[in-house]
């Protein structure tokens, strides 16, 4: 069957122009990056807020710990985060002191107090009472400093010379990179692109479904079909909407590059997070993204198109539209597994199973070095699946788009696939058959 390229071009153009013209396209295109910027701004802001000073009173009946703890914090990166004051135990006893400190916390003159009585220290659990107990980073840091002080105290009491202690305390940090030493945007970049891929496969799939139903419910389809073959209409529609997706990504990429360079680092620097580097996106990630978006898009778009064709309204199609959507969503079930070991046997197999290939293979290849043949194989499998799926979808589509009247059942749709003919008359004939 020959495809008339000129007609298909006209359909692509219509789909593309009509989608780009919609306000919804631009709202979504502009809103999503704004949401991301907002998300980063909020997380940076909360970090800043969290970097306020905590005023903490230290009850230290033995007098052994307060001075070393203050000295330890003063020479660390956390010097600005804690303001420690000693709280001497009055004659009335510790309980009276705690009551007084509680009142001061309530009056917001103090953020918390730490009780370092020998019994608690020996038992390995010391009381920290504060206005908020949810700022875990602070508690963690305070705990770490306290433990260094305690460890040093114990080492000294065992007779270790202070010079040796400094030697013993030296630590190392891990410098994480991919095994192939290739530039990677890190986990965050992989994750962001993975979420985008996942969300847009559903979004642009649904555009196809709605487009098909719109043509049916507005009854334009029979006029169009008198000029083009159903296959040409389907092809033009899928390509046109796919191009809309690529356009959206192009806009986002340009926005992201500029915004990240200008405001991203600007905001971070202004807030004193010069070392909070904005992750860079490697070209290979972008290339893989476009490749796997297209492979996934054409596969799922044919499914969504076929599902839209037999129905006359979004509501009717909703139930069956869950099938491809769930296929895409199911990738989350394996998400943890892929992150933990992108090259495990199961992850490898999943990346070669058609419904999940585009997402899993993209995620793997950006997280870890994946053998080249696997990427080629995944691409080949997807291309073959696209051919098969669009062939099946085309059969349903050709019959479905001209079917009006009652909502067809799944067995009926399966019959169309086999025979490529609806076996049902146009509406008036159905009426006559009944009458």
């Amino acid at each position: 069957m020959a495809i008339n390229a000129r007609k298909v071009r006209a359909i692509i153009k219509r789909e593309y122009v009509e989608h780009i013209r919609r306000k919804a396209f631009w709202i979504f295109t502009i809103l999503l990056p704004l949401m991301w910027i907002g998300f980063f701004a909020v997380s940076i802001l909360t970090q800043t807020r969290a970097s306020g000073v905590r005023r903490i009173a230290v009850i230290d009946p033995t007098g052994k710990y307060f001075a070393p703890l203050r000295a330890e914090i003063a020479q660390s990166k956390d010097a600005a985060r804690f303001d420690l004051t000693p709280a001497p135990v009055p004659p009335a006893g510790i309980d009276a002191l705690r009551a007084a400190l509680r009142d001061r916390i309530a009056a917001k003159k103090l953020d918390g107090y730490l009780l370092l009585d020998p019994g608690s220290v020996a038992a390995g659990k010391v009381a920290y009472r504060a206005s908020s107990v949810s700022d875990f980073t602070y508690q963690e840091r305070l705990e770490r400093h306290l433990n260094s002080v305690l460890l040093r105290d114990r080492l000294i009491s065992r007779g270790i010379p202070p010079g040796a202690i400094a030697e013993l305390e030296k630590t190392v940090s891990i410098d994480a990179k991919r095994a192939d030493e290739k530039e990677s945007g890190g986990f965050l970049v992989s994750m962001v692109f993975f979420v985008f891929l996942y969300a847009t496969l559903i979004q642009y799939g649904m555009y196809n479904l709605r487009g098909v139903i719109e043509e049916k419910s507005s009854r334009i389809v029979e006029i169009v079909i008198s000029s083009v073959r159903p296959t040409e209409l389907m092809l033009g529609k899928v390509i046109g909407i796919g191009l809309v997706g690529l356009t959206q990504y192009a806009i986002w990429s340009v926005l992201a590059m500029n915004l990240a360079l200008l405001s991203g680092s600007g905001i971070a620097a202004a807030l004193g997070f010069a070392n909070a580097s904005i992750p860079t996106v490697p070209m290979s990630t972008l290339a893989y993204f476009v490749l796997f978006f297209l492979l996934g898009y054409f596969f799922y778009a044919s499914i969504y198109t076929a599902i839209g064709a037999p129905f006359n309204s979004d509501q009717e199609a909703q139930q069956l539209a869950m099938i491809p959507t769930l296929m895409i969503v199911s990738v989350w079930a394996f998400w943890g597994l892929i992150v933990n070991n992108p090259n495990s046997t199961l992850a490898t197999v999943l990346s070669l199973v058609p419904p999940l290939t585009p997402m899993v293979m993209f995620f793997r290849v950006t997280l870890a070095p994946v053998p080249g043949w696997q990427v080629v194989l995944a691409t080949a499998i997807m291309l073959a699946s696209i051919v098969g799926m669009s062939w099946l979808a085309g059969k349903i589509y050709r019959v479905g788009i001209l079917m009006y009247g009652k909502k067809p059942t799944v067995p009926e749709i399966l019959r169309w696939m086999r025979r490529g003919e609806s076996g049902a008359a146009p509406e008036p004939a159905i009426e006559a058959a009944k009458g």
Partner: protein, 306 residues
Amino acid sequence: MNAIEVDHVTKAFGRFKAVDDLSLSVPSGTIFGLLGPNGAGKTTTIRMIMDITAPDSGSIRVLGKPAARESLARVGYLPEERGLYRRMRVLDHLLFLAAIKEVDADTAKKRIERWLDSMELRPWLHKRVDELSKGMQQKIQFIATIVHDPDVLILDEPFSGLDPINVNLIRNFLVEFRAGGKTIVFSTHVLEQAEKLCDHICLITKSKKVLDGELKDLKRRFAGNVIRISTDASREAVGAIPGVRSVASANGEYHVTLDDGVEPRSIVQTLFAKHRVDAFSEKEPELEEIYLKAVHDAGLEETRAI
């Protein structure tokens, strides 16, 4: 030469035969009416001509080609259920429909503007379809059907849902098209419309053809035994004449039904002997009468009215 030939075509949907052994020929340059009640098989026939549905058996030729697909660029089609892309602008929409008929944009634009002018829709050129009234959308749909200047127009119930002004407008356009040598096939279940427009008709009912031919011939063939007489004689006096089966009064004249084989002239001569006769003519049968008689003769009477 025939623009469309349908040759022994049958189409069944499951056990239901929608079209049963239908043959018809549409001569070029004529208006051809496909008539019959709802559910007779008109839409299925038209869809087969348009190659939207395939016949189970038989063959169809459009403009000499085996399938309409191959001459789609020369055929304009208005389906019974019609619509437009609601969000598109009028000009873009018509340009799109022209583009998929492979009309280049410049030619299409000139034609569209001319048509919109003639239908007084020019101010709506850049408006969205859903901003137009129903009547305007119907005009746009009609322009969409003819935007590629087709040689053959196939219209399924073109007048249904149209207001009287648009019915008149479309009817005048169809007559104009015929004058331009184009062929028009349209289906309708309203016989008065067909009677005013058609050169040829094909009557189908219950999936079968009952009658087809040139409307003039059919009227002569079914003219039969009714004459119209304007006279001063009483109804009883007319009824008493030998050879008269029955007399009915209508609009100050009599419709006189004769016995089979009786010459109308002999009745008039008898009447002349005693009475004044002002006017006399053989009454042309209405299409509806032809239809009912043909259906009766074929033994395919409808159980419900058309």
